[in-house]
Amino acid sequence: MLAWTIYISFLGVLVLMLLPRDAARAARGVALLTAVAGFAVALFGAMGQATPGEVVTITKTSWIPALGANYHLAADGISLTLVVLTGLAAIAGILFSWNIEKRTKEFFAFYLALIGGVYGVFLSFDLLLLFVFYELTIIPKYFLIARWGSTRKEYGAMKLALYSFVGSHLVLIGLIAAWVVAKGQLGHASLDFTELAQLSFPVAFQKWVFPLVFVGFGILAGLWPFHTWAPTGHVAAPTAGSMLLAGVVMKLGAYGCLRVAMVLFPEGAAFWQIPMAVLAVIGIVYGAGVALVQKDFKFVIGYSSVSHMGFVLLGLATLKAIGLSGAVLQMFSHGIIAGLLFAVVGRMVYDRTHTRDFSDLEGMGLGRLLPFAAVTFVVAGVASMGLPGFSGFVAEFQVLIGAWQAFPTAALLAGVGIVVGVAYTLRAIQKAFYADAAPATAAGHHEHPLDPVSVPEKVAGVLLIGTSLLIGLCPSLLLNWIEPCMQSPMFERLLKGGSL
C-alpha cells in the first residue's frame, strides 16, 4: 500500500501536465489533493505495519537481472517515520504556496515530482533503485529554485544541483565498487539491500569506501564543510522550496548516510567515527554562530538548519542505539520545525513586505501588523530551541545522551551550540517582530496595509505546530517505530562498533 505514495505523486504530475496552460486554481486543487492522498496513504500504511522493527517488503520484482537489481520497495520503522514526514511536509508546502500565480501548474508538477522521488528514496531497499530516486529529486529542485526563487536564484539553484550531483557521484563510485566486491563474495550480482547488508565487506575496502559514500550523502545533509549549498539554496528557493529542502531533502542525505553508508560498512563507520563526530559538532556550533550574525532573516533559518542537521549527524556518529534513534527523531522534528520557520519568513513575511533585511523589518512593527505570523514564529522558534514539550527536545536530548556516552566533549560542545541557538532565535524574534517601531514608519505602512494571513497559511501553520507538539508530548508515537529498528539484525554490527 505504501508504494502508492510514490505512484500517486507521479500520477499527480501527469494530471498537472495535462491541465490547460493557465488553470491555476485547478492546479492547486490537484496538487493539494495529491499531497493529501499521499499523506493519507503514508499514515494508514505506516499504522498498518504491525512490526515496525522489521523490514516489511511491499513489492519485489526482478528489474535488471544482469546487474542483480530488483524493484524492491519495503519499509521499516525509520522509513515509516520519514514517509509520514514527507507527507506532512508536502501538504504544508502546498498550502504555503497557495499564492503562486506564475506558471502554477508547472510549479506544482515539479513539486510533486520532487515529493514522489523523496517517497521513493525512503521506501527503496535496492541500492540502484534508491540511487535512481535520489538523483530524480535533483532536477525538480533545480527548476523550482531557478524559476520561482528569489535572491540570486540561478546561482543558488545551480550550486545546489552541482553539490547534489557531485555528492551522488561519490556515492555512485562507492556503489559500483561495492557491487563488484559483493559479486565476488556472493558469486552472483546483487544490488538488493537486505542481501548486501548481511555481507561483511573487507575492512580495508570499507575504510576507503565508507567516507566516499558517507560524504556523498552527507553533502545533502548539510555536513560541514560541504554545507555551503544549504544557506544559499534555502534563501534562493521559493517558500515551498525551502520548506522541502530543509524539511525532507536534507533528510534524504542523512537517511542515505544511515541506511547505506553506515549499515553496509559498519567497520568503516567505526573507523571514521571520530572524524564524523568532529564534523558534526563543528556543523552545530558553526551553523549556530553564523546564524547569530546574519542580516537577512532567511539566512538565519538557513544556517540554523545546518546547525540542527549537525545534531542528526552527531547522533549517527555515536553508533549507539539511543543516538541513532535520536537522530531519526531529529530528522522528523527538524523537518516539521524548519519547514514552519521557512514558511513564516518566506511566505508570511517576505511575500508581504518584500524584504527580509532585519534593518527594514525592525521599523515595521510586524508583531502588531501580522500577529499570527509573530505568534507562529515564536512558537516555532521555541520549538527549534529545544524547549520541552516540542519534538525537538526529545530528539536532541536523545542525541546528547548518546553523544555523552560516546564522547563527552562532543556533547558539551553541542550543548554550547544549543545555547547559541537560543540566542539567535531570540535575536531573530526580537528584530523581526518586536523591535520598537518608529511611529512615522508604522503609520506609513498603514497606508499600504499588509494582507492578513490567509486561511491556507493558518491551516498549514497549525498543522505543523500541532505535529511538533504531539510528538513532543507523546514521543512514543514515533519512537515505537524507530526504536525496534535498532534491535533488528541490520543494525547489530553497526551498534557493536563494527567488529574492529
Partner: protein, 493 residues
C-alpha cells in the same frame, strides 16, 4: 553459394540500395517541379518504407552464415545492430523533412541510404579489406552530406576539414591493416589473431596497433583525433550532423570493438593503475581518458548547442571506449547498449535543435530561451534527451553508464584495476551535468523574448521526436529489453 542465394542473404542491403535508387529516380522523374516540402515528405516516406522492409526481413531471418571466409557474416548480433542502424536512418529521414537547406532532396536521402548500406556491410564483415571498403563508402557519403548546404560557406569548410582529416585517418588505418596482412598473410580477423599468436609485441605489431587506433579513433571522434568533429557538427546541415553523430557512431564503435577484440586478440596488455602492460588496452585507455577530460571540459565553454553536442559526443566516446578497455562480454554488451541508446538520445537532441534552428535561425543556447512556453512537448523531450546524456536516472543514459562502469570495474574484480578510469569517468560525468543543465536552464528558466510566439512543428517531426524520447525513458526503465538480446547475441558470438 550461387548468386541467387547470395542475393537472398544480402536482401536487406539490396533493398536499401534499391530504395536509394528509387528515391533518386522518383525525385528526378516525377517531383522536380514540386515544392521542397512535398518532395521531402514523399521521399522520406519512401526511405522509411524501404528501411522498414529491410528491418522486417532482418527480423524474420534466423540464419547464421559466414560467407567467403568472413567477408560477410550473418548472425543474431549483426542483425540486431543493423536493425538499430536502420531505425536510426528512418528517424534521421523523418527529422530532415523539416529542414530547408537544399533543393537536392533526392540526392540527400539517397546519400543517407548509401551511407546506411556502408554501415550495414561494415558491421557484417570480419575481413579487413571489406571493412576498409565499407568504411570508405560510409565516409565518402558523410563528407558529401556535410557539404550539402551549398548556401552556407561553413558547411563547405566543415566538409573539407572532415574530408582531409578523414583521408589522413583512412591512410593510417590502411597502413596498419597492410602491416597486419604482411605479418600474417590473411585478411580475416580470426586468422590474423591466430597468425599473431606467440609473436609477442614486436615493433611492427605496435605500429599496427597504434595506426589502427588512430584510424578508428578518428571515426569515433576520440581525443586527440577529434578536431574535425565540432566544426563538422556545427557546419553541416543539422540532419547530416545528426546522422554522423548517431548511425555512423554505432557502426564505427561496433567495428572498432570487433577489430581490436578479435583481430588483436592476444595483444591486449593491461590497463590497471599500477599494472600497465603494453598492448591495445592501455592505448585505448589513454585515448578514453583524454576524450572524457577534453570533451567535457571544452563543452562547458560552448555557446552553440551543436558544438556542445559535438564535444559531448567526444566525451561520450570516452565513456564508450571504457567498454572496450574492459574487454569482456558484459562490457561489450554495455558498450553496445550505451552506443545505441546514446544514438537514440543524440538523434532526438539534434531533432529538437533542428526545429529551434529553423524557428530562430540560430542554434545558440540563447535561442532555446523560453522553449518550454513556445513548444512544450519538444521542450520536455529535450529535457529527457539532455538529462539522459547527463546521466540522470531513470533514463537510458544513466543505465548505459552504470552498465559500462560496473563492467569496467568488474573486469579485474580482485584489484579493482580499472577503478581509476571509472573514477575519472564519474567525475567527468558530474562536470557534464553542468553544461547540459545550462541548455535546459535556457529552455525552462529564461524568459521568452519579445514577439516570440509558439513554434509550429509538423506532426511527423513531433511524433518522431516524442517516440525517441519515449524510447529513452523506456530503455532507462526496462534496460533488459535491449540488454537481454544483446548479451544473448554476444554470448552466442
Amino acid at each position: 553459394v550461387n548468386y541467387l542465394q547470395l542475393l537472398q542473404l544480402v536482401a536487406p542491403e539490396t533493398i536499401v540500395v534499391m530504395t536509394a535508387l528509387l528515391v533518386l529516380a522518383v525525385d528526378l522523374i516525377a517531383l522536380r517541379e514540386q515544392p521542397a516540402g512535398l518532395r521531402f515528405g514523399l521521399e522520406a516516406t519512401i526511405t522509411s518504407f524501404g528501411c522498414g522492409a529491410a528491418i522486417l526481413l532482418m527480423l524474420s531471418g534466423h540464419d547464421t552464415m559466414d560467407l567467403f571466409n568472413g567477408i560477410f557474416i550473418i548472425d543474431p548480433l549483426t542483425r540486431l545492430v543493423k536493425v538499430a542502424l536502420l531505425v536510426l536512418t528512418i528517424f534521421t529521414a523523418v527529422i530532415s523533412v523539416e529542414a530547408r537547406f537544399t533543393e537536392h532532396v533526392g540526392e540527400f536521402l539517397a546519400l543517407i541510404l548509401l551511407a546506411t548500406v556502408g554501415m550495414m556491410f561494415l558491421v557484417s564483415s570480419e575481413d579487413i579489406l571489406m571493412i576498409f571498403i565499407s568504411m570508405e563508402l560510409l565516409s565518402l557519403s558523410l563528407y558529401v552530406l556535410t557539404a550539402f548546404n551549398k548556401r552556407n560557406i561553413r558547411s563547405s569548410e566543415a566538409a573539407l576539414k572532415y574530408f582531409l582529416f578523414g583521408g589522413m585517418a583512412a591512410a593510417f588505418m590502411l597502413f596498419g591493416l597492410s602491416l597486419l596482412y604482411g605479418m600474417t598473410g590473411s585478411t580475416n580477423l580470426g586468422q590474423i589473431a591466430a597468425g599473431l599468436a606467440g609473436r609477442g609485441l614486436d615493433p611492427l605489431l605496435i605500429v599496427a596497433i597504434v595506426t589502427t587506433v588512430v584510424g578508428f579513433g578518428f571515426k569515433v571522434a576520440a581525443v586527440p583525433f577529434h578536431l574535425w568533429a565540432p566544426d563538422a557538427y556545427e557546419g553541416a546541415p543539422t540532419p547530416s550532423a545528426a546522422f554522423i553523430a548517431t548511425g555512423s557512431k554505432v557502426a564505427s564503435f561496433f567495428i572498432m570493438a570487433k577489430v581490436l577484440a578479435i583481430g588483436y586478440a592476444g595483444a591486449e596488455g593491461r590497463g590497471g593503475w599500477h599494472d600497465l602492460v603494453a598492448g591495445w588496452v592501455p592505448t585505448v585507455a589513454v585515448v578514453a581518458a583524454l576524450s572524457m577530460v577534453v570533451g567535457n571540459l571544452t563543452a562547458i565553454a560552448q555557446t552553440s548547442v551543436k558544438r556542445l553536442l559535438a564535444y559531448s559526443a567526444i566525451a561520450h566516446g570516452g565513456y564508450m571506449l571504457l567498454g572496450l578497455v574492459a574487454n569482456n562480454t558484459s562490457s561489450r554488451t554495455a558498450l553496445l547498449f550505451y552506443v545505441i541508446t546514446y544514438a537514440v538520445t543524440t538523434l532526438g537532441a539534434f531533432g529538437v535543435t533542428s526545429v529551434v534552428e529553423g524557428a530562430t535561425g540560430s542554434d545558440s543556447i540563447a535561442s532555446f530561451a523560453g522553449l518550454s512556453r513556445r513548444a512544450p512537448l519538444l521542450s520536455l523531450c529535450m529535457l529527457v534527451f539532455l538529462l539522459s546524456l547527463g546521466g540522470i536516472p531513470p533514463l537510458a543514459g544513466f543505465l548505459g553508464k552504470f552498465l559500462i562502469f560496473s563492467a569496467a570495474v568488474d573486469a579485474e574484480p580482485a584489484h579493482l584495476g580499472l577503478l581509476w578510469l571509472v573514477i575519472l569517468a564519474i567525475a567527468m560525468s558530474a562536470v557534464s551535468f553542468y553544461y547540459y543543465l545550462g541548455v535546459l536552464k535556457s529552455a525552462y528558466v529564461a524568459d521568452v523574448g519579445e514577439g516570440a510566439g509558439d513554434i509550429k512543428v509538423s506532426w511527423a517531426t513531433q511524433l518522431a521526436i516524442a517516440v525517441l524520447a519515449l524510447l529513452v525513458i523506456l530503455l532507462g526503465c526496462w534496460p533488459s529489453l535491449l540488454v537481454k538480446p544483446l548479451s544473448l547475441a554476444l554470448g552466442g558470438a
